[in-house]
Subunit: 133 residues, 3 copies
Amino acid sequence: MIRTLNISTAGQGLVLITGEVEAVVRESGVPEGLCTIMVRHTSASLTIQENADPSARRDLERWFNRLVAEDDPLYTHTAEGPDDMPAHIKAALTATTLSIPILDGVLALGTWQGIYLWEHRHRSQSRQLVVHV
Amino acid sequence: MIRTLNISTAGQGLVLITGEVEAVVRESGVPEGLCTIMVRHTSASLTIQENADPSARRDLERWFNRLVAEDDPLYTHTAEGPDDMPAHIKAALTATTLSIPILDGVLALGTWQGIYLWEHRHRSQSRQLVVHV
Amino acid sequence: MIRTLNISTAGQGLVLITGEVEAVVRESGVPEGLCTIMVRHTSASLTIQENADPSARRDLERWFNRLVAEDDPLYTHTAEGPDDMPAHIKAALTATTLSIPILDGVLALGTWQGIYLWEHRHRSQSRQLVVHV
């Protein structure tokens, strides 16, 4: 089964999507299998991170923003804005696809794991994900 | 088929798990298919790296430890120890899930490829992996 | 279905392989499913990046070359040449396997997404990919 999810983002940051992906797994009725998620963009990405303390996600975001600076004179690809090339680099450093086993009808994530869509652009975007079960 | 593997780690470093994953593939009896591995933690990760010269893994570890320093004043998420936030960042930079084709009943890895569980915390941990064939 | 692809590279850079992977999907005749790609090397990797403006790929390559410098005194694994250890680090920072849903018989990629084999060595190489549908 394949479903397309549309997720709205409000600028840079991690958006929890575990619930939306779990809903697709539930709808599929598959007791044991594999769930694959792909983001259909090159300036947003996916990550599995701690879902408890929000300070961990904030630090993660700030660390990546420092590593992949916007005002880097190295960039020649600047026509789409100062946040575009950093967005592509961050996408390459993280994940575009994730595959998570399904056990007893639910995603076999650890207790502290959440699935996040990572928006790398400043402006709000509508992002498409493809979920395959 | 799904199996849960428990792997003990002895502080930071790469732990070879190719044999454990191969054993699950053998048990499944699947001649041609896909094997997916997920680590159920956000302070450890997965990587496929050279399985020959151990100096390559040592350099990899040291390079990551320099890039993601422990004493970084940027961190606010410090309640779980100085190695916790670096561990989350390293997990985001590497992989939480890997999918490897199975050919003729074995993982279709290259000659020099090994599957590694990458422990990012200093203390010994018991880590859970979920393997789906 | 599993196919092995041999891709020639001409030194460092991103080689577009969307067409080669699409050909395997077409051959399989699968209308809805999952396509997994694995590179069988630890000094080359995979990424999904923008397929439009080549300047984005050039900047990406230059940014990674600056982050993972060749003349880093940290390296002890130097027997295979100055570009070998950087190649392993870049492979760890990017992807060795990718899984892409298949919808209506084609890869469900976004409009601007291309699949790239990323060569990290200076010399031309023949690289093997395993594609599972």
